[in-house]
């Protein structure tokens, strides 16, 4: 397929798969079945080609050259900013800031907004299903600034305890930092409902969209977000590019995150004045090539349509859940209600550690993640050290889920008779 095809076309899985060269690979003598998409997605030829095209045809630094190549590179880089603004329903492109990844985007808010707008005693509310990257920056801010950190608890089914959320989001709450979708369990969090509670108290809302934006149609206004953080590499784009979107008024009032070139208006040996948003937050030469190629990834997803992406993953998840329950000794984590699950299936097998599951699956070509998924509080809630996690994306098929199911039965056979 090519960029710009209309969104309502048929889901042509064979055409999609042809766009991903790595899917033709064999691993351990069998075809690769890549089910570790929550960690990172594969990249289509269009994205790979755009990376190469930049370096071959118009490699130049941006925002500082009068020559043709610099102007082309600047236009392509700023073009991605515009695509992203459109993709997430932002009202203006300069609300889009490029970072290295979601983690850096959240840290930017913790440093810049947190240090300027939060005072000792102010409360920041997060949840127990957060990735470490939406926990640790707030703990660091708490230790440095004396803010109070509160947690919305996770229930055993992987959903949030909304009754407790209503109690702890109160007049002292200044910031709610919440994930759109749990990376460990796939729970889709009712962000809008929580955002409304926070906004009613005058708090601002940061949404960790690392897992949500790649898989769910996302509109910052509908979501109720004031900040949204996400990563290119989980949505067909290159590694090394993240996005922080923020409401203009908030970004405009925030101090810079890092000092250096491109983020200043004027520098003397005594003082400097800051450039405008978003450049104020993009010090130094950014990741030009990868930002440009991220624009191509956005084109690709838009050509499929995010509603269709979600529908495809939803169908795969339903199929996987229905087939995996028959594996002896399996426990599948996450909400019973499948309508609030993304394309993530976290599971364990009696008497077999998730690392051993992952190892045996790999010998069958099936790539999954085993571990705590950088969400140790989730594991603690479930009283388990780790899970095995299969996660799906646009190019996965029912046949690949069949391969996962077959290989998981092999795991049980291989470790059969083991007592935990």
């Amino acid at each position: 397929m090519t960029n710009g095809t209309h969104a309502a076309r048929e889901w042509d899985i064979e055409a999609i798969r042809r766009d991903f060269p790595v899917l033709r690979r064999e691993v351990n003598g069998v075809p690769l079945v890549y089910l570790d998409n929550a960690a990172t997605s594969q990249k289509p030829v269009q994205v790979i080609a755009e990376l190469t095209r930049y370096y071959r045809d118009y490699n130049a630094n941006i925002h500082r050259g009068v020559h043709t190549l610099s102007q082309e590179a600047t236009a392509a880089y700023e073009g991605t900013r515009e695509k992203i603004a459109r993709f997430i329903g932002a009202s203006r492109p300069d609300e889009v800031i490029f970072t290295r990844n979601t983690t850096e985007a959240i840290n930017l808010v913790a440093h810049s907004y947190g240090r300027s707008a939060l005072q000792t005693g102010d409360e920041v509310v997060i949840s127990e299903v957060e990735h470490h990257s939406n926990i640790v920056p707030w703990q660091m801010l708490r230790d440095e600034r004396g803010i109070v950190l509160k947690y919305i608890p996770m229930l055993p089914d992987g959903t949030l305890d909304l009754a407790v959320a209503r109690e702890i989001i109160g007049p002292k709450t200044k910031l709610l930092a919440i994930t759109q979708m749990s990376n460990a369990l796939g729970t889709i969090v009712p962000v809008r409902e929580l955002a409304d509670l926070a906004h009613a108290q005058g708090a601002v809302v940061l949404v960790d969209g690392a897992q949500g934006v790649p898989h769910l149609a996302t509109d910052v206004t509908a979501l109720g977000a004031d900040f949204l953080a996400f990563s290119a590499h989980k949505m067909l784009g290159p590694t090394g590019v993240g996005v922080l979107w923020g409401r203009f008024e908030l970004l405009d009032a925030m101090p810079p995150f890092m000092g250096g070139g491109d983020m200043i208006l004027n520098v003397t040996m005594e003082r400097s004045t800051w450039n405008d948003v978003p450049h104020k937050f993009e010090a130094g030469t950014p990741n030009i090539a990868d930002v440009i190629a991220f624009g191509t990834a956005i084109d690709y997803l838009e050509s499929l349509g995010m509603e269709a992406v979600h529908a495809h993953e939803r169908e795969l998840l339903e199929y996987a859940l229905d087939r995996m329950v028959d594996v002896p000794g399996i426990t599948i984590y996450g909400p019973e209600d499948r309508s609030i699950r993304g394309g993530v299936m976290s599971f364990s097998l009696d008497g077999v550690h998730p690392h051993d599951i992952g190892q045996v699956l790999d010998s069958h070509g099936v790539a999954i993640r085993a571990g705590h998924h950088c969400a140790q509080p989730v594991m603690a809630c479930l009283h388990i050290p780790a899970t095995a996690r299969a996660s799906f994306y646009i190019y996965n098929t029912r046949a690949e889920i069949d391969a996962l199911v077959r290989a998981t039965h092999e795991v049980v056979q291989f470790f059969g008779g083991v007592r935990a």
């Binding site: 550690h353 051993d356 190892q359 705590h372 594991m379 291989f414 083991v418 007592r419």
Partner: protein
């Protein structure tokens, strides 16, 4: 069907130690303790030992949670060091770590069954699983009575100047 390399990793003797761990649990009268963890996996092992006045490791136990490799390696380690001198036990730690780096037992090895773990070296992500118990034992034996020290393994499973 699992392929040959998988069998190389999960040798029968290893699965036997996983299914029937030796010296598992807490140790009465222990005077050496250390806790080990692989932060990336969440594997945890606690080693307790009772060392006599002459330096003999009279008894050693392990407990904790982890994958088959870490549990089996822990079990095999306890068999190896029980009744040995502290010096000999620490030599065993050295030999084991050499084996993890080289993929085969050193020439002077007396590791016996433990050499079945040499195949782990071909799976770099699992070396830290196999090494955890040994590094934790070393820490326990080098820690004074009445103290508990902690060990965390890095990606390569060795933190003492290995490649």
């Amino acid at each position: 069907m699992p392929d040959a390399t998988l069998e190389e990793l999960y040798r029968e003797i290893l699965l036997d130690h996983y299914r029937n761990p030796r010296h598992h649990g807490v140790l009465d009268g222990a005077n050496r303790h250390a806790d080990g963890s692989n932060p990336l996996c969440g594997d945890q092992v606690m080693i307790e030992a009772r060392v006599g006045e002459d330096g003999t490791v009279e008894a050693v136990t392990f407990s904790g949670v982890g994958c088959s490799i870490s549990q089996a390696s822990s079990s095999m380690m306890t068999v190896y060091v029980s009744g040995q001198s502290t010096a000999h036990a620490l030599e065993g730690v050295q030999r084991f770590q050499q084996m993890m780096l080289a993929g085969e037992a050193p020439e002077d090895s007396d590791l016996g069954d433990i050499e079945a773990l040499a195949g782990v070296a071909k799976f770099p992500a699992r070396v830290k699983c196999a090494s955890l118990a040994w590094k934790t034992l070393e820490q326990a034996l080098r820690t004074a009575d009445g103290h508990t020290s902690t060990v965390t393994t890095d990606e390569k499973g060795v933190s003492d100047g290995g490649s």
